[in-house]
Amino acid sequence: MMQVFPFLVVAWIVLMGLYGMVTSRDLIHLIVCLIVVQSSTYVLLLGVGYVTGGVAPYFFDISPHVKAVDPVVQALTLTDVVVEAAVTALLLSFAVQAHKRFGTLDPHELAPFKG
């Protein structure tokens, strides 16, 4: 069970985020749900790179020969967080413009987009 448990958590986070997005009645709420979906990838990456009994890959005060978890996926997670922040910022600015243009943040009430 411990072998797959972190990955089941990943699937759970994705589904909860998607459910929130599908039922969302507010663009800000929808964007937060998208962040939830994306945060599942952090759990997935860190879960894949974990080595049983491994320490964090920092060797300032420990021997470099101590068993450590994989640093590559941790670097990827950092990239992931930055991209998420960038995407969120852009989406929030779109939400601001949608509110200016249509006077509502409810996706059901937004007029269909015209070209």
Partner: protein, 274 residues
């Protein structure tokens, strides 16, 4: 489509997604059994090759440095994209008499004053937060830190000024022109470090600076420490720019970009009103 129909459609799709997930997980090596070989290979070499004790920073700014250039420019582009999306559109807020735009409604809204507890605590935290952010941005080679983390915390110091109820001080501390320059220096500096290596007929982003003698020391790891610092400046500027842009939308009439075009005149008006 009614909400009920949407939910059924979602349930159908989600069932397929879960099936694919379970299928994929069955092929994973299992939690705690990471097979490598890339990560363990780097762990064996990292101190000998870079003199950085932080393997994650070494990967970000050295082994995968080229990817990080792209990552940094994603943030750069997002800040620029926000400025474009949130610019004042032609005719916006000029038109219909009697009808208030959301920004005008916001201006006349009664907002409770910031409590003195919040003011005192946020002002007290500005200094320590800035120091921690600076420290993180300059110790990428030593500890779990680096430009991205440090930059965000450095930006938080500016937001604490805003939180203490001093929006105008926040704006004076972070003029858009200075932020633009800092962002460009950070992002361009990173690319320039790489190009310098090319000019010395080395591979792009090659670590050409002396690596130092003590692993993890402030003077060690060559370009890793330098790039991390540049990234810190870029990230801090980008975040202050992004949040400032959003605050302008809610708190002031007109965006930050527009005031900048107005130059000194806009600033004088703001100071008079302050």
């Amino acid at each position: 489509m009614t909400p009920r129909q949407r939910l059924w459609l979602f349930a159908f799709g989600a069932a397929g997604l879960v099936a694919c997930y379970l299928w994929a997980f069955a092929g994973l090596p299992g939690f705690g059994n990471y097979p490598g070989p890339y990560g363990p290979a780097i762990l064996r070499q990292v101190i000998a090759q870079t003199n950085a004790t932080a393997a994650v920073s070494a990967i970000n700014f050295e082994y995968r440095g080229f990817d990080t250039v792209g990552e940094e420019f994603i943030l750069f582009t997002a800040a620029a994209g926000m400025a474009v999306v949130l610019r004042r559109l032609r005719g916006e807020r000029q038109g219909e008499q009697g009808e208030e735009s959301p920004a005008e409604q916001a201006a006349s809204r009664q907002v409770p004053a910031t409590s003195s507890a919040v003011r005192v605590v946020s002002v007290l935290l500005v200094g320590p937060t800035a120091v921690i952010g600076w420290w993180l941005a300059t110790h990428a080679q030593t500890n779990p830190s680096g430009g991205f983390q440090g930059g965000v915390i450095l930006a938080t110091a500016f937001f604490l000024v805003y939180l203490s109820g001093e929006f105008l001080v926040f704006r004076r501390l972070s003029p858009v022109v200075a932020l633009d320059v800092a962002e460009a220096v950070g992002a361009g500096g990173f690319a320039a470090v790489g190009l310098t290596a090319v000019a010395m007929s080395l591979p792009y982003l090659y670590n050409y600076l002396p690596l130092g003698t003590i692993p993890g020391a402030i003077s060690s790891s060559g370009t890793i420490a330098l790039i991390s610092f540049l990234v810190g400046i870029e990230v801090a500027a980008a975040f202050v720019l992004i949040i400032g842009e959003l605050l302008d939308q809610t708190l002031l009439r007109g965006g930050g970009r527009e005031r900048r075009q107005g130059g000194g005149q806009g600033r004088r008006q703001r100071e008079e009103s302050a």
